[in-house]
Amino acid sequence: MTWLNSHPLTFLVFAPTLLGLLLLALPQALGKLTRLLGFLGALAIFVLSLAWLLGRAPGAPLAEHAPWFTLVGLPVDYSLAVDGLNFWLVILTTFLVPLTMLGTWNSLKDRMGTFAAMFLLLETGMLGALVAQDLFLFYLFWEGMLIPMYFMIGVWGGDERRYAANKFFLYTLSGSLLWLVALLFLAGKAGSFAPAIMAQAASGLPFGVQCWLFVAFAVAFAIKVPLFPLHTWLPDAHVQAPTAGSVILAGVLLKLGGYGFIRFAIPMFPQAAMHFAKPLALLSVIAIIYGALVAMVQRDMKKLVAYSSVSHMGFVMLGLASFTVIGTQGAMLQMLNHGISTGALFLLVGMIYDRAHTRMIADFGGVATKMPIFTTFFIIVTLSSIGLPLTNGFVGEFQILNGTFLSGFAWGRAYAVIATLGVVLGAVYMLWMVKRVFWGPVNPDEDSGTQHLHSDLNAREIAVMLPLVVLILWMGIHPGTFQAISEAPVATLLKDANAPAIRPLVLPSAPLLGPVEAAAAGHAPASAEVHP
């Protein structure tokens, strides 16, 4: 037990691997049993992560550090930590894995044990990447994630699974290769893979070199997000992946892109990051509008949700590019939001696909008549996705837009106003789809999807959806639970990065008033992040 007490993160990261290997070792004939074992194990890991992360003393970081090996003269450390930036993402990951297993209980017919094992290996990759504090270690986990995901799409996917799996793999890998070169170059300069030391070394390099390094990092992360125009692997991967793969892809994998920016790319190259803030923000705004417009005309529900991810993740990137506390905090929350809401949407689409064996919008109509409970859940998740106030989606988008509007960059205001359009378009594509799928008379075509819906959600499926709905409301009504822990780290990060002060609008004050009264009326000059 003492080992466990001093190595909780190691246990969290590698317990899924051990469990996965165990499942692989079990005979295939035990398919259903391995599935159950995998689920119970993942659930136990979630409970443990909650206990350890929430139970730790306030302010005491959870960290492990040990020298590991030397790579061409560069020391690689085994360094893990949980802090304000990755705290909730870690919990999101351990939460979504068992939930997804339960949600897709009967979706797969063959090699269930192997699938569960792949899923758990993927969990190790994601958790490892989230908690790694050494860039080489991070790189290993980051690339390691690709392999189980590749198999999940390639083996258990839809009709064009091989194309999608190869595309997913090569797309992300080619982005990371450039990044690896930059990583090794900078590590050579710094003599270490520790982010802080590398950042210091980077700050001594010529600005042009810093920019190239930032771009190399940014491209790798932007592909994962995915940021327009590097998003085209996503629709294919999502549509071909089995439901569980889609959920985890949207729920966690994409988050690692945004997380990479805030953990590494921005703090390591703050000057270059701010130099590229405008193009990043521009691409984000394009992603928001473009993703929404393309989502609007999709015919496949899953593809629609996939393109909606492009739009939602655009909001995350916009918030990060604002370099304000409000915008960044909003982006952090929006990552969690997207994990919950889009994960839930993929689960729901999976549930209806399991029954109707189609996802085409035109094959439905009148689903509300057949499946009222399913409809209720779908509507609630839709409201979260379109950012209705009191759901999680609103808080994130509202903070991102306000942060961008207040941003110290000259483009902030215009971009915030344009990005607001995405909120309208979000309602358009989601509610139009809802109308065509759920409302109206039952689709009379005998082969239609609606005609194949014979049962509403069962107890297991309701049990999967309920926690998600609770979270949607909780995050919308009391976002403080999820934002408080990252407030200080984000503020420090932006301060260290020398982010420009926010720019309030200045109203001409009344001529009748003296300066004292004017100051009382609230027009003191703005300091870094203190609003007048």
Binding site: V297, I326, V423, K435, V442
Partner: protein, 636 residues
């Protein structure tokens, strides 16, 4: 008592949750008790809190219930403010809301979705109260979008039909376009004032001089007004409201007449000091309001569906309210919200009673002679009709007159538009009334089966009728020697935080009596005209329509605005989305950017694979050739 004010919105929320989750199993009786009980409790509590607020020296009761969002310099509390403005509206929502709940018990008693209906209705009351009582702009926005959601759900209540979901979607999306304006307005105000709390914004705005209004505040208030045109169905975003009549009639009465659609007016009153700083916005508000009032009234002249007539009438009356606001008559505009809530709710419920009696017949041309069959509905509808056409002594007379007086002070043209709209209103209301209740029945089968509605439906009509007539005592117009009491009542809310006191009374008193007399007499004349045209059936009207075929068709088809929007806006957006997807995403980015390099790599690989023949003689040949080349290079 004051610390329990938070229960006012929360109780209906509890009712909504109960009926939504357990209602179907609990049975109709339990649903009724919970739905009506929570709203009634909320009403009683509202009355108590209202008087507690009036007893306070500054007429302002605030309640802070903790933090909602807090990060960086942004801090938004869950807070409530009860002042005369929100207090009166709170009473309207819970009071008229309760009456309409009672009415719905009768109207909806056969519906399978009874529990669902009341769950949505209670949820609506919760969101509407949040909109009104919320202490900050984002909290008001919670209500703002929340009532939109309930409106969407209730318009689409008959979800298994084709038209209701379409109407619901249209309502939500049109409102979202408006909400875009509200969101932008909030961002600008936050950036300018550094706070999102309404009270703080007003205090800071109170310290600004008139030159502050140009630029930033004009933009912010214009954006907020865009939101108001969405929620309150003004040009050009009014299109959803007539379609919203697809919902059950009590919904039309509560949401699409009495409360939700007046949110835009409420918001502007709430932020009156900020709007006052932006004269350009005030002009826009007045002119858009006047234009809408006239535009919608003309469409109302020819509609056959009894609810459609009332819907266009609502759009038109809302235009009046904005006209009043734009003329700096915040109290006048809000007073019209108040009086309109009574008589328009009554008109809709009366229409519902007729529709109920006629077995869901909504075509005015098939009604007639219902007076003898439904005396209570007839008399109460008469009271409402007199109120809306501004018959002297009714509530509508008082509020409309005050608005017209202010409009004249701003611009005689606005007054003229207002008077013409009032004449149209008088005409179409008498047309509606005459076609439904007077003359000979035009559909004898339906007439034979018509009957007065059950008591749960008729007594709310009676209460509303009394209110429609008596509400006048809150604001007897100044032109007729009254004191327009509501202005003084609302003053603490409308001028909150102002250091520069109001600069004199808007509007001159001299021509007021003459103008009011002119507009009243004209209105009565057109009311007679409407009655005279239709008292003997449709023949006179049809003959007249035949003389102006083009105009008649234009009005009947609502100026073809829906068709225009589809052609100019919706169609191109879908086309553009498809273009982006099929051309840009699939061909350019993914094709040329991703798959082409992939394909080239493969072609190159295939090409080099040609040399990997596996035959020794080929390798020997290339070795020899290579060696020869190397030799040549080195020896040269």
């Amino acid at each position: 008592m004051n610390t329990y004010a938070w229960l006012i919105p929360i109780l209906p929320l509890v009712g909504a949750a109960f009926n939504g989750i357990l209602g179907k199993r609990a049975g109709k009786r339990a649903v009724t008790v919970v739905a009506l009980g929570t709203v009634l409790a909320s009403l009683l509590l509202s009355i108590a809190v209202f008087f507690a607020m009036k007893a306070l020296p500054d007429h302002r009761l605030t309640l802070d219930l903790g933090t909602w969002m807090a990060t960086g310099s942004m801090s938004v509390p869950f807070g409530l403010v009860v002042d005369p403005l929100s207090g009166i509206f709170m009473l309207v929502i819970t009071g008229i809301g309760f009456l309409i709940h009672v009415y719905s018990v009768g109207y909806m008693h056969e519906e399978e979705g009874y529990a669902r209906f009341f769950s949505y209705m209670n949820l609506f009351v919760f969101f509407m109260l949040t909109l009104v009582l919320g202490s900050s702009l984002p909290l008001m926005f919670v209500g703002w979008e929340g009532v939109g959601l309930c409106s969407y759900l209730l318009i689409g209540y008959y979800y298994e039909t084709d038209f209701a979901p379409d109407a619901g979607l249209k309502a939500f999306l049109t409102n979202r376009v408006g909400d875009l304006g509200v969101a932008i307005g909030m961002m600008v105000l936050f950036a300018a004032f550094g706070t999102l709390t309404v009270g703080d914004i007003l205090v800071k705005a109170g310290h600004l001089g008139p030159e502050a209004g140009f630029g930033i505040l004009t933009f912010a208030t214009l954006m907020l007004f865009v939101g108001a045109t969405g929620k309150s169905a003004q040009l050009p975003l009014y299109l959803w409201l007539p379609d919203a009549m697809a919902g059950p009639t009590p919904v039309s009465a509560l949401i699409h007449a009495a409360t939700m659609v007046t949110s835009g007016i409420y918001m502007i009153c709430r932020l009156a000091p900020v709007f006052t700083l932006a004269p350009i916005t005030m002009d826009v508000v007045a002119w858009v309001g006047a234009a809408t009032a006239l535009f919608a009234a003309t469409i109302g002249l020819v509609q056959r569906d009894i609810k459609k007539v009332l819907a266009y009438s609502t759009v038109s009356q809302l235009g009046y309210m904005f006209l009043g606001l734009g003329a700096s008559g915040f109290a006048a505009g809000f007073f019209h919200v108040f009086t309109h809530a009574w008589f328009k709710a009554l008109l809709f419920l009366g229409a519902g009673s007729v529709i109920h009696a006629m077995h869901h017949e909504q075509d005015l041309f098939k009604m007639g002679g219902l007076r003898s069959k439904m005396p209570l509905t007839f008399w109460t509808m008469l009271a409402a009709t007199l109120a809306i056409i501004g018959f002297p002594g009714t509530s509508g007379f008082a509020s409309k007159d005050e608005i017209l007086a202010l409009a004249y002070a701003k611009s005689p043209v606005l007054w003229g538009i207002g008077v013409i709209a009032a004449c149209c209103t008088a005409f179409y209301m008498l047309r509606l009334f005459t076609l439904a209740f007077l003359g000979e029945p035009r559909d004898h089968h339906a007439f034979e089966h018509a009957h007065e509605s059950p008591r749960t439906m008729t007594w709310p009509l009676v209460v509303l009728a009394v209110g429609s007539l008596l509400a006048v005592f809150l604001g007897w117009p100044k032109a007729f020697g009254g004191d327009f009491r509501i202005e003084a009542w609302l003053a603490p809310a409308i001028t909150y935080g102002q250091v520069h006191l109001a600069h004199g009374e808007p509007g001159g008193a001299e021509p007021a009596l003459l103008l009011a007399t002119i507009s009243t007499v004209l209105g009565l004349g057109f009311a007679w005209f409407g009655y005279a045209t239709y008292r003997n059936g449709l023949a006179v009207a049809e003959a007249r329509a035949a003389k102006f075929p083009f105009l008649h068709k234009l009005l009947l088809n609502k100026y073809y605005v829906d068709e225009g929007v589809e052609l100019v806006i919706l169609g191109p957006i879908r086309w553009f989305g498809n273009l982006l997807w099929k051309l840009f995403d699939v061909i350019i980015i993914d094709g040329l950017g991703v798959n082409l390099p992939g394909a080239l790599t493969r072609v190159f690989g295939d090409f080099t694979a040609l040399f990997q023949t596996g035959r020794v003689r080929n390798y020997a040949l290339s070795m020899t050739l290579g060696g020869a080349v190397l030799l040549y290079v080195f020896l040269k």
